[in-house]
Symmetry: C3
Subunit: 405 residues, 3 copies
C-alpha cells in the first residue's frame, strides 16, 4: 500500500476504536446503562418498537440492494459492494454518536431507523462519484456526510418551523433523502473534479445487469417499508402503502412506454432506475393524495426520469464538467424536485395556507444549497487525501482466484 492510504486506514479505524472506547466508558455497566431509560415512563413505546423492527431490517435490505443496483460495470463489481458497506458503516456509527452526544436521544428502533436512513442516503450519493476515490475514503465520506445529514435534519425538520412558521411536508423523504443524496453526491464530484474516471466505455455483461434487475425489483417491492418507517399511526401506514405502490406501478408502466417511444428498445440501465422514480417522487405528497393521484404522480415521474436519463444526462454532465456515473440526479434529484413541487401544488389547491404550501420547496432549496457546498468541501478533502491514483474504477483492489484461460 502507498503511504497516504495506510495513514488513512489506520487513522479512520483508530478514530472509530477510540470513539467507541470513549462512548463505552461514558455509559456505566459495560455500556449497558445506555438502555436504562428504555422504560414506558420515559416516553418509550414498546408497541411501536415492535412494529418498527421489521422496517428497520427492510431499510438495511434496501441499502444492500443499492449496491447491486450499481454493480453492472463488468470491471467494477465487488468494489461497489465494499464501497457501500464502508460508507454505510461509517455514517451509521457517526450519526448515532452525534445523536447521543448532542441530542441525547433514547436508544429506540426509531433512532436506529433514522441512522440507517442517514446511511442509505450516503450510499445513494456515492453513486455519483463511484470510482474517483480510494476505497478507504468511502469511510471518510460516510463519516463526514453524517454530520451534514444530522445538521440538515435538525435544521429542516425542527428549527425551520420554529424560526419561520414554514411547515415542511416530506413524510417519505423525497427531499431529506433523495435530493440530499443527489446534490451531496454532485457536490463531492464537483470537489474531486476528476476527468479521467470512466473515460473508457462502461461495459456490462448479461448477468451483471441481471443483478441490477433483481436489485431494482426488490427495491421497488420494499419501498413502503422505507416511506412508512417513521410514521406514527397505523392508519397512515396503510394509506402510505397504497400511494407508494400506486406510484410505483405508474412508473413501471410509463418508463417502459417512454423507453420504447424514445429509443425503440429498452435500455435496461435506464428502465431499472427510472421505474423507481414514482416511489421517489411520492415521498413528499405521500399522505396528501389518494390512490389515483399517486398513480398519476408515478406515471409522470417515470416520464420525467426517463427523459432525463436519455436527454438531460449528456447535456447536464458536460455543463457541470463531471460525470454522474450512476445517473443519480436523473432518479433521485429530479424525482425529489417533482415530489416537492407536487406536494406544494396539492397543499395550495387544498387551501392549506402559504406556510404549508411553500414549506417543502424552501426545504428543497436549502437542502440543495447546503449539500452542494458541504459536498464540494468534502470532495476537496477527498482529492487532497487521495494520493496517487491511476484509475480506481476496477476490481484491482481485490484478490482473484479465477482459472487460467
Amino acid at each position: 500500500m502507498e503511504k497516504k492510504q495506510t495513514i488513512g486506514i489506520v487513522a479512520i479505524v483508530a478514530t472509530v476504536i477510540a470513539a467507541a472506547v470513549l462512548m463505552f466508558t461514558k455509559d456505566g455497566g459495560f455500556g449497558a446503562d445506555a438502555f436504562k431509560d428504555l422504560l414506558p415512563g420515559f416516553g418509550y413505546d414498546w408497541g411501536r418498537d415492535a412494529l418498527q423492527f421489521g422496517k428497520n431490517l427492510d431499510i438495511w435490505f434496501m441499502l444492500m440492494l443499492v449496491a447491486f443496483l450499481m454493480i453492472f460495470i463488468r470491471k467494477f463489481e465487488w468494489g461497489v459492494a465494499l464501497a457501500v458497506l464502508l460508507s454505510a458503516a461509517a455514517s451509521f456509527v457517526v450519526y448515532l454518536g452525534i445523536q447521543q452526544i448532542w441530542f441525547e436521544e433514547l436508544w429506540t428502533q426509531q433512532l436506529l431507523i433514522r441512522a440507517v436512513i442517514c446511511a442509505i442516503t450516503v450510499v445513494i450519493a456515492i453513486g455519483v462519484f463511484l470510482g474517483t476515490c480510494k476505497m478507504w475514503q468511502y469511510l471518510l465520506v460516510g463519516a463526514l456526510f453524517s454530520v451534514v445529514y444530522a445538521f440538515i435534519e435538525w435544521l429542516l425538520l425542527g428549527q425551520l418551523t420554529e424560526w419561520t412558521d414554514l411547515v415542511v411536508t416530506d413524510d417519505g423523504g423525497s427531499v431529506l433523502v433523495h435530493m440530499c443524496a443527489a446534490y451531496f453526491g454532485l457536490g463531492v464530484a464537483l470537489g474531486i473534479r476528476d476527468k479521467r474516471a470512466f473515460d473508457e466505455p462502461m461495459y456490462t455483461t448479461t448477468h451483471s445487469v441481471t443483478f441490477v434487475w433483481l436489485a431494482s425489483m426488490l427495491l421497488w417491492m420494499l419501498w413502503p417499508s422505507f416511506v412508512t418507517s417513521l410514521l406514527p399511526g397505523t392508519i397512515d401506514v396503510t394509506k402510505a402503502t397504497i400511494t407508494c405502490y400506486m406510484a410505483g406501478v405508474g412508473s413501471v408502466i410509463s418508463t417502459y412506454a417512454m423507453c420504447m417511444i424514445f429509443q425503440g428498445k429498452v435500455n435496461p440501465l435506464v428502465y431499472t432506475y427510472a421505474m423507481l422514480c414514482g416511489p421517489v417522487a411520492i415521498g413528499a405528497p405521500l399522505l396528501q393524495v389518494g390512490p389515483w393521484g399517486a398513480l398519476l404522480i408515478g406515471l409522470i415521474a417515470g416520464i420525467i426520469s426517463t427523459t432525463c436519463f436519455i436527454y438531460l444526462q449528456p447535456w447536464f454532465c458536460s455543463k457541470i464538467g463531471v460525470l454522474d456515473i450512476m445517473g443519480v440526479h436523473n432518479l433521485h434529484g429530479v424525482g425529489g424536485w417533482f415530489g416537492a413541487i407536487c406536494v406544494s401544488i396539492v397543499l395550495a389547491a387544498s387551501g392549506a395556507g402559504f406556510e404549508a404550501s411553500v414549506g417543502t420547496l424552501v426545504m428543497a432549496v436549502i437542502t440543495v444549497a447546503v449539500t452542494l457546498v458541504t459536498g464540494a468541501v468534502i470532495g476537496i478533502i477527498v482529492k487532497l487525501t487521495r494520493g496517487d491514483m491511476e484509475i480506481c474504477t476496477d476490481d484491482t483492489d481485490f484478490i482473484k482466484n479465477e482459472a487460467p484461460a
Copy 2:
C-alpha cells in the same frame, strides 16, 4: 418500432392515464377522500392491517422472484423480468379499479393483498406462453386477466355458496391462484397457437440457473406469508405456517429422490420447480390437516410433480399442440388439483358433509372451464394485435453494452 406495436403501447398507456385521471377526479381532495372511510366505525381494523403490512410486501417479493424462477434461458433473461413487471402492473391497477367501481371496497392492506395476489397469478400464467407475444402485450394480458380473476373470485368465493350451498375450502389458494394461473396460461397458449416459438434448444448457463435456485429457495421460504395473508386469526396463521413448511420439507425430500430414481441425476429445472409443489398443494387443505398430514401431502406432491415434469410434459404438450414453456402445468396445475382432491378426502373423512366435501372440486372444475375459455379468447386477441414477429424469445428488445470480443 412497427405500427401495431406503437399503437398498442400508446393505447394502453393513454388508457391507464385517462382512467387514473377519471378515478382521481371522482375522489375529492386530490383523491385523498378515497381514504375517508378508513375509520374503526366503518369496519376498518387497524391491528389486522399492521400485521398484514409485512405479508403484503412478502407477496410482492414472491412476485418478483417468479421472474427469476423463469430467467434461465440464456437468450431471454431481461425480457422475462420486464414481462413480469408489465403484466403485474397492469393487472394490479385494473383489479383495484374494478374493486372500486363495482364492489366499492375499502382501501385496506386486505384489498392491496388481494390485488397483488391477482397480479402474481397472471405472472405465473405468462410462464406458459412466454416468448410468443410482443412485450407491450403483457400489459394487455395483465389488464384483461384481472377482469377474469375478479369474476372468478366473485363467483367462487361468494356467489357459489349463496346459490348452491356448496362450501369451498381453499385458504391458501391451490385453486384460486395456482389452477387459475396454469389453465389461464394454457388457454392463452391455445389461443396464440404458435409453433415457431422455442423450436431451438433453450440453452442455459451456470449462473442463469443459479438465479433460479435463488428464486426457488426464497419462494419456498416466503410461502407462509402467501398462504396466511388473508387469514383472520393469529392462531390460524400459526397452524398454516406449520403445515406450509411441513409440506415444503416433504417435496424438497421427495423431489430429490424421484429425480435420482427416474434419471440418475438431478435436472435443476425440474428440482427447483417440483420442490415447490408441496406448498402449492397444501393451499386447499391448509387448515384441515396437522403437521404430519401436511408432510405426507408434501412428499406425495413432490413425487407427482416430478413425474409430470419428466414424463407427462412431452406427452401433454404434443397432445394439446402447444409448448408449456416453464412447465407451469406440472407445478401449479397438477399441484392445485392434488390440493383440491386432498381437501375433499379430508373433509369427507371428517364427516364434514357433502356440500363441504365436493365444494372445492366443483370450484376447481369451474375455474378450469372459465380460465381455459377466457384465456383462449385473450390469446386470440393477442395473436390479432401482435403484428409481425419472427421470434420474440430473446433479449433483442434491449440495448446491450457488452465489450467487443
Copy 3:
C-alpha cells in the same frame, strides 16, 4: 446409480414417509388434533406468535442465504444449494419429531423457530466437509445431527443449571449455534478424513463471488431477526437489535482494515465471511453490553476472524489433517469462543457471581466435546455408507443444458 446410493436414498425416504404416517395416525382428525392445545389456557401466547412469524421466515431466509455464501467454487454451485436444502429438510423434520415424541412440545412459532435454528446449524456445519460425501448423505447427516442438537439444547439450556447451579448466557446463539456448527462440522470432517477432496485449486468466477457478496450482505442485515427470535420481551428485542447492528458495523470496518494491512488487497472470500464475525460474537453478550461495547466487540471480532482466515487456517488444517473447506471455524468457531469469553468477562466485572460468569464457558467446552465426538462418529458412518467416489466436488450430479461451444 450405484447400489449404495440407491439403497441410501430409498432407505431415507422410506423412513421419512413411514415416520410421517406413524406420527400422522397418532394425532386424530387427519392430524389436525395436533393443534388442539393451541389455546390460551394451555400457555399459548397469540401476540408473541404474531410477532415471531416474520422472524421465523427471516431465519429460513438466512438458511437459504448460507447456501449462496458457499456457492463460489466454479465447479460446484448447484450442489451446494441442493446440499443445503437436503440437510435442512432432514434436520428440521427429525428435530420436530423428537420434540413431539420426547418433550411433547406445543406446536407454536416458538417451536418452529427452534427447529429452523437446528436446521441452520447443520447447514453451517456442512461447510466444513462440503464435497467429501455423496449428495443423499446430506439427508443422513441432517437427520443424525438433529438428535445431537436436541441433546445439547436439552443438556445446556435446562439440565446444566438444574444439576450444577451454573447459569448459561447465550441469548443470540454464539455457543449453541455457531460453536456447535463449527465443531460438529470439524468432527464429521475428522471422521471422513478424505485427503483427495479439493486437491485442485478452488477456482471462482466474478459472478460466483458476487452471489457471495449478496448473501453475506443480506445475512448481515437479517441477523437481528436471528438473535431476537426467541427473546421474550419487546424491550429486549430493541436492545438486541442495537447491539447486533453495532457489532456488525464494527466487523465491517475492522475486517477491511485488517485485510488491507495483512495483504494490501481485499480477499473477497475472507472479507465477506469475517465481516459477519461481529454478529456471531455478540450472540452471547447480546443483552449484557451497551451499544458502544457491542461496537468494540464487533471491531475486535473482525480483527480476530480476519487473522484466523489468513494465518490460522493453513496451520490449523495441516495440524488436524483435514481441510475446513469454507473456513467455518475461522468465523463460527473462533467468533463463538470470543463471544463466550466476552460474556464471562462482562458478567464477572458486573459482579454477577461465579456460576453466571463461568457458565457460558463451561457450556462452550461441553459443546465442543460433544459435537467433536458425535460428529466424528457420524463422519465414520458417512464414510462407511459412501461407496465409490472419485471426487464429489463438482456439479456432475446435475443435468446441464449449455450451448455447445
